[in-house]
């Protein structure tokens, strides 16, 4: 069979997101990495809930299930348990995944069934026309919060860590060079891979991530972590993270200042849980970079494999099943009635 090209993963339907929506970029990255990794159309399943991002399966030439609000992880779990050979992707948003579907996301992450959950975080309800979402920044004025929101926003990566996720990554929608490898790593991970995509909504929350994406100031506001590499960032690569001396936590430092060099910086360790917590939180305060890349990755027990222990190795024939059922029914006390009965 011939190798598929990225465009082969696109369905024939017109993509109907708003022009300029960040979702286009994610879709493009997805098509590319599926082609790059030799994915098969028939073995790829895209499941989504409700919201703008949840339209994604319609734009894929793979199998797709556009389900109901918040429930995609549960439906995807059932499909994956039924057919472990499928490569299952869940596409959700900040409202779908963290508000109405928060419970399912929590339990999917803790179970660690082999699938990818890509959460498009635009910090707003787009499809219902602009109400604040659980990740909206405090004080945002929306139709449902005319005086500004009073709720503390939820940090998706921190939520994922709390839920026990074993793979947590974050990217910006348009940075294909960051997002592509993350999606590839997520696909390869044996367990539930959680990918938060900071995604721009051009209509209701335009520019909310500009300070991260902007060519000039973006590098000063983001830190791309790589396993085994020192945590350096900034337009001039002159900033970094180190462990707070004599304290607990992380500290942003400027290199050369006070004679600091890269050797004084923390080296990223994907398997360090405490570090992942600290990295996930960064960016919530002024002066801190938002961390992108794979924040945490740790091999764990994959739920599907564990749940199959005890199942017959090969599919049983109908005759064999009925015979086992007959035996099971007779495992309880039975007795005979009739002329021949003892």
């Amino acid at each position: 069979m011939t190798d598929l090209k990225p465009k082969d993963f696109a369905s024939s339907l017109d993509v109907r997101w708003c022009p300029g929506c960040g979702d286009y970029a994610v879709l493009k990255s997805l098509h590319k990495i599926l082609a790059d990794t030799g994915a098969k159309l028939e073995d790829t399943l895209c499941v989504s809930g409700i919201g703008c991002s949840s339209r994604l399966p319609y734009y894929m030439a793979t199998y797709g299930f556009h389900t109901i609000h918040g429930r995609a992880p549960a439906i995807a779990s059932g499909a994956k348990l039924a057919n472990p050979d499928l490569d299952v992707w869940v596409f959700t948003g900040d409202g779908d995944g963290l508000s109405i579907g928060g419970n399912h996301l929590l339990h999917a992450l803790r179970r660690n069934l082999d699938m990818q959950i890509v959460l498009f975080n635009n910090q707003i309800y787009g499809l219902t026309k602009g109400q604040y979402s659980p990740t909206s920044q405090k004080g945002v004025r929306t139709p449902s919060s005319p005086g500004g929101t009073i709720e503390a926003p939820l940090n998706p990566a921190r939520f994922a860590i709390g839920a026990g996720a074993k793979f947590i990554a974050r990217s910006v929608d348009t940075q294909a060079k960051v997002l592509g490898p993350i999606l590839e790593a997520a696909k390869a991970f044996e367990g539930t891979a959680f990918v938060e995509v900071l995604q721009n909504c051009v209509i209701f929350n335009d520019g909310v991530f500009d300070r991260l994406k902007d060519k000039k100031q973006g590098p000063d506001n983001t830190l791309l972590v790589e396993h085994g590499k020192p945590m350096v960032f900034g337009v001039n690569r002159d900033k970094g993270l180190r462990a707070k001396p004599g304290g607990f936590g992380l500290e942003v430092v400027t290199l050369e200042e006070g004679g600091l060099s890269e050797d004084d910086l923390l080296v990223h360790d994907e398997s360090n849980h405490a570090l992942a917590v600290a990295l996930a939180e960064l960016g919530e305060n002024e002066g801190e970079p938002t961390v992108l890349g794979i924040l945490f990755r740790e091999a764990g027990v994959e739920f599907g494999a564990a749940s199959r222990i005890g199942l017959p190795e090969n599919k049983l024939s109908m005759e064999e099943k009925l015979s086992r059922l007959s035996a099971t029914l007779r495992a309880s006390e039975t007795w005979d009635v009739g002329e021949d009965a003892a």
Binding site: L13, K40, L41, E42, D43, L45, V47, I50, P57, Y58, M60, T62, Y63, G64, F65, H66, T67, I68, R71, P73, A74, I75, A76, S77, G78, A79, K80, L81, A82, N83, D85, L86, N103, H104, L106, H107, S307, L311, P312, K315, L316, M318, K321, L322, R324, L325, S326, T328, L329, R330, S332, E333, T334, W335, D336, V337, G338, E339, D340, A341
Partner: protein, 629 residues
Amino acid sequence: MQNGPEHSVSTHELPVSQQPEVDYVRVRFAGDSGDGIQMTGTRLAESAARFGNDIATFPDFPADIRAPSGTIYGVSAYSLNIGHSEVDTFGDETDALVALNPAALRKYLEGVKQNGLLIIDMDAFTERAISKAGFAGNPLEDGSLTNFRVLPLEITSNTEKALKETGLSAKDARRCKNMWTLGLVLWLFERSTADVEHWIEQKFHKKPDVAKANILALQAGHLYGEVSDLPPDVSRYRIQPAPLMEGEYRSINGNEGMAYGLYAGATLADLELFYGSYPITPASPLLHTVAKLKELGAISFQAEDEIAAVCAAIGASYAGHLGVTGSSGPGIALKTEAIGLAIMTELPLVIVNVQRGGPSTGLPTKTEQSDLFQAIWGRNGDAPLPVIAPAHPGECFDIGVEAAKLATRHMTPLMVLSDGYIANASAPWKLPDFSDPAYAPFPVTQVSNPEGFQPFCHDEETMARPWAVPGTPELMHRIGGLEKQAGSGNISYDGENHQLMTEIRARKLEAVANSIPLQHVESGKSTGKLALLGWGSSWGPIRVAARRAELDGKSVSHIHLRHLWPLPPNLEELLSGFDRVIIPEMNNGQLATVLRSQISTPVESVTSVKGRPFLVREIAQIIEDALGA
């Protein structure tokens, strides 16, 4: 046509009897919820069934796990009816009540018939326990029990005495008092203790001390009956075996039967069973039973909530298994949106609702059949699905098979309405013979040919759409909750198309109606003065009352609906052959309301929502009111 096993072969055509204590005896064990009452009752039921009696049981336990001891609300009871004749109910009245404490006596005395037998553990009748139960004085001494035959025994101290040599602590020894009591009751029925001893040995094979103590207590109780001078008015019960249909039997309750039936159904459809569920009373044993079928290839999944449970089942169906979810009313309410998705995407799915008293949390451990409206109409949009209901525990297996058959044949979700009574009650059940044509396989075809494939193109006869499962090359397509273009399945907001798709979903139910059997008469003639029309677990009391009235020469027939939605096509014609049609049901008149919207034959409604099945005498009263004494 291919209608699944139509009726479980059970005890249907045994004679019906009116002579208690000759043809049948109704016994009730009652005590604290920690007294092992359920186990005691189950053992007696098994023993009687093995002996060849027909039985019907009714476990009645509190919603609290361990309510404070000695309280009325902490009383747990197990009623059973042991018959030489056909028994379909646990009995209106009790012939013998075993009360292990004052609260048990107080709670269940009302149900004991005049001159009935009371076996009482005197040791439990302390002043404090008597007042905790709400008695003004000691009922054993104040003459309030003169209408009964009272057998006050020192059950607790007799048990302790019997176990003195075992070295067990007094507390542990007292825990065996249920076995002592069972031993005595077995003696009362002229039964040996051998079966129960065998069971104890198996149950406690890892704890030989416990096994030994229980067996000693059991034998001591039996011996007590043998050697003590019991009052002359305490006679033993001689209930001969019932002339059951030949075959191999076991006893089964509705939840077990349903779980096994769903597995058999999935198997006959040549599919794997996926059961997604969330714990809820009284449906949890379905999950427990399927979980034990792992070696048979069944997948069970305990989800994080009711919604995830049904969604996982839908996902499994989408991926090519038979997805099943089970719950009770409140859980079904949560699953509602997802059931709509299964209707919209036309995936096979079985939803089992083991109904309980509602609304809201309602009466979790009590039975009711008040989710009929919810089943038929409880979704947004025009969202039809078939609804079927078992009449008794022995029918649950075949209902499970039929559910799998209809859901896959027509590519539709389907709801089964069981209830708390059917789920927990047990009865002798003739084991299925899979070579019987009733269990002929109905293998499902999952499509693989891309030639002209259209995911939402429908079969004219069954109105099923092709089932193309992920993993199949060349058939990639997208489905979802949005309205679909007929044929291609692409999203469509077109009004004409929505009209067409709504009609297609309705026609799917018509296709089901054409494939189910015509409605038959359960007992009595096919025309006459009165038809009692029932569904679900009101089967037992209606059957007994109708057959007895018929023996008395009354023109009464019993019609029982297994297919509630769509209704059997001949129902209107059948009902029109009766002067009056009365529907007794355990809700506020739901089936009557449904029928009034569907057929022109007038129907009358008699309802009862008391947390228990109808009593035979209540149904007999309906007949008498309609036809005269």
